[in-house]
Amino acid sequence: MVDKKQNVEVRDQKSISKNEMQGFLRHLSTKRALVCPVDTGKVIEFREVDIALLDMNQGSILDATRILDDHVSYKSIKEYYFPQTELMFTFENDDIVDNKDIPGYAIFGARPCDLEALRVMTAVYSTGKYADPFFHRRFEANFLIGIGCKNLKPECFCQEMGVDKEFSDFCDVMLTDNGDCYIVEYLSEKGRSELDGYLRDENHPLGFVSAQNHPPAVAGTLFSKRANKIDEPSPGLRDAENAECRMQNAEIRGGVTGELEKSFALDVEKDDTEYFDIIDWAKVTEMCKGCGICTYICPTCYCFDFKDVSKKGTAERYKCWDSCMYPKFTLHASGHNPREHRHERYRQRVLHKYKYVPNNFDGVIACTGCGRCVRSCPVGVNIKDILKQIIEKNDD
C-alpha cells in the first residue's frame, strides 16, 4: 500500500452485501484480532471485538458494533499503530530484550480522514535515516479496511484539508457504501491475497457474491462524483487506467494525496518566524484549559516520550503518548521551560501541524480535518477558526 505502482496493478472492485457482513468479519477475525467501531455506552471507539464471545452468546457483531452507521469514532485508529503505552524493551540480566511481540489487527471501518492520517504518520515515522521500528512492525502486521463516509459530520473539515471523505487509497481494502452493499476495492497486494479467494467464490458457504454479479453501472454512478474532482473528468467506471491517471496527476502535483485543494494550507516557503506572531495567540487560546485531549484523540499527533518502569530485578522502557499541550513536554531539568505558557504550547501544536511538518515532509499537512479536536474540546477552542484567522492575516 505504499508502493503506488503496485496499487495500480492490483486495483479492482468487488462488492459485498450488507447482509453478509457478519461472515465477512468472522473471516477477518480468523487471522488477526478484529478491531471494529464499538459503542461503549457514551462514545464510539475502535475496540477489539471478541467473536468467540459473541458466538457463545449468540450475538451478532453487527449489533455489537457500529460498522454500518455513518459516524466518526471519538478516537482514531492511531492506537493500533502507535499505542498509548507500548513496551519497547526490557533490561534483563544485564542485557536488553527487544519486544517483538507485536499483535496484528484487522481493523475494520477506518474513515478516510484516519487513513490519510496514517499516511502522515508513515511519512514521519518511516522516512529519514531511521524508521520507528515499532510503528513499522505494526504497520506490516495490521490489515486495514477503510470505509468511506456518506456525509460530513458536524465539525468535519476534511474537504478543506484536501481529504476525500469517501475514499482514501492508504489502506489494504476500501469499502464504499452503495445502498444495500459495499463496493470493495483492493488497494494492496495484501488486500487482494487476504480476501480475493474469499470474495470471488460464488459458492462460498457464507454466500459472498463476486463482482460479476453486480452490473458495472453501479460502480460507475458511484464513482462519477468523485471522478469529477480529479483533473481528468472521466465519469464512467474507475478502472485501472483511470486509477493510473489519478496517480499520475497526484505525482505531477507533487503532493501525496493532491486530489482536492487544501484550502487550509499555510505557505511552506515562508520562514517559520513569519507565522510565529501572526495572530494574538494568547487571545485565541484564552479559554484553553491546557488539557491534552486535542492531541490524544488527534489521528496525526505522533509525539511520544519514553517512560521507564522498574520491576524486581528488571526494568522496562515504554514508548508513551506525550502531548505538546503539557508544560512538562519541554521542561528542562534546570527548570527552564522554552514553552512555559499555554498559548505558546498551542501555537506549537498549530504550527507544527500546518507549517513544520509540511516543511519537513514534502507538504504533507499533519491534519486531515477529522474535526475531533473541535468536537471534543471542553471549552470550544476551534482550530478551524484559528487557521482561518492565520490565513486571513497571511493574505493581507
Binding site: 542485557d95 521500528p133 509525539c303 519514553f306 521507564d308 526494568a315 522502557r317 528542562h332 514553552r339
Partner: protein, 281 residues
C-alpha cells in the same frame, strides 16, 4: 551498529573512571570516562551527543566531552540536576550503563579551517566544546586553524571544569586561556567579571575568527550582543542548544523549534541560523 536497526535500543557501556570536576560544596559535576562493551566502538565528531540510560529511571541526552581516546574511551560530563542525573552521580567506577548514539550534527570543522577560534564557555558549558578544542589542538589538525583563544567563565574558582587540561592546552602554540569568576576571591589570579564585560579588553583580533559559545542562555545572549557590537557577523558565531529530547532521531518531536529538530538539525547552530528560528529555546 544498532540491533536490528532499532534506534531506540541502547548499547552497553562501562564506566572506566569517574572524575570529580568541581570542588564547590555540592560537588555537582562529574566526568564519566566510559567505553562501549563488545567489539564495537563509537565514531563521532565534536558537537554530537548520546542518550544515556539508567534502567528504571530514564534516559537523558549529554554531549560528548572529549574526542574518542586511544583506549576507545570517551568522556561525558554531567551536572547533577534531576532524577536521572542524581542516579548517574551515584554510580561507581566499573558500573555498566546504557547509551545510544551518536546523534546530531557537528561543529563546522572544515568551514572553520584557516580561521582563528574564540571559545567562550560558562561553567559546564565547556564540556561540549572540549572535544572541539581537543580536535583543533591535536598535532594533526593544529596547523589547519589559526590562533585559539579561550575565555572560560565560572561562578567561582571551584566551579571551573577540566582544569587539569589547561596546562597541556597552553603548551600548544598560539593558544591563550583566560579564566574568569563572577566575584573576586582571595588568591585568585585570573579575571573577575562576566565574560561579555571582559571581551572588549582582551584585544582579540576578530577579523578572521569564529566564536563558539556555550553556557547559560543569559551568558550566550550577552556575549553574542557584545561580539556583534564589535563587528562580528552572526554566521561566524556558533553555539550548541539543548532541549528536552526523547528519541534523538527526529521522531518524537520534543526538541522541535520551528521546523528544525535539535537532535537532527542541531544541536550546533550558528547565530544566523538561530535568528531565523522562533525564539523557543
Amino acid at each position: 551498529m544498532y540491533h536490528d536497526n532499532n534506534p531506540y535500543l541502547p548499547m552497553k557501556a562501562k564506566i572506566e573512571r569517574i572524575i570529580q570536576e568541581t570542588s564547590s560544596p555540592d560537588l555537582d559535576v562529574k566526568t564519566f570516562k566510559m567505553k562501549l562493551l563488545g567489539d564495537e566502538s563509537l565514531s563521532f565528531l565534536p558537537g554530537q551527543f548520546i542518550e544515556f540510560s539508567i534502567p528504571g529511571f530514564g534516559e537523558c541526552p549529554f554531549g560528548f566531552a572529549s574526542m574518542l581516546q586511544d583506549d576507545g574511551c570517551f568522556d561525558i560530563t554531567i551536572k547533577r540536576t534531576g532524577k536521572v542525573t542524581n542516579r548517574i552521580h551515584a554510580l561507581d567506577e566499573g558500573a555498566n550503563v546504557w547509551i545510544r548514539g551518536p546523534f546530531g550534527n557537528t561543529f563546522p570543522l572544515e568551514k572553520m579551517e584557516g580561521s582563528d577560534l574564540f571559545y567562550v564557555a560558562g561553567g559546564i558549558g565547556l564540556a561540549p566544546l572540549r572535544p572541539f578544542i581537543q580536535y583543533v589542538l591535536s598535532p594533526e589538525n593544529r596547523k589547519k586553524y589559526g590562533k585559539v583563544n579561550m575565555l572560560l567563565a565560572a561562578r567561582s574558582s571551584t566551579d571551573h571544569c577540566f582544569t587539569y587540561d589547561y596546562d597541556t592546552w597552553r603548551t600548544i602554540g598560539d593558544t591563550t586561556i583566560q579564566q574568569t569568576i563572577d566575584r573576586d576571591e582571595p588568591d585568585w589570579t585570573g579575571l573577575v567579571g562576566f565574560p561579555h564585560n571582559l571581551i572588549k579588553d582582551m584585544a582579540i583580533d576578530l577579523s578572521n575568527c569564529y566564536a563558539v559559545l556555550c553556557g547559560p542562555p543569559i551568558m550566550i545572549k550577552a556575549v553574542q550582543e557584545t561580539l556583534t557590537d564589535m563587528g562580528m557577523p552572526l554566521d561566524r558565531l556558533y553555539t550548541t542548544l539543548e532541549m528536552r529530547m526523547t528519541c534523538g532521531v527526529g521522531k518524537c518531536a520534543k526538541c522541535n523549534i520551528g521546523h528544525q529538530y535539535i537532535c537532527v538539525d542541531g544541536p550546533v547552530f550558528s547565530m544566523a541560523e538561530l535568528s531565523a528560528m522562533p525564539n523557543e529555546y
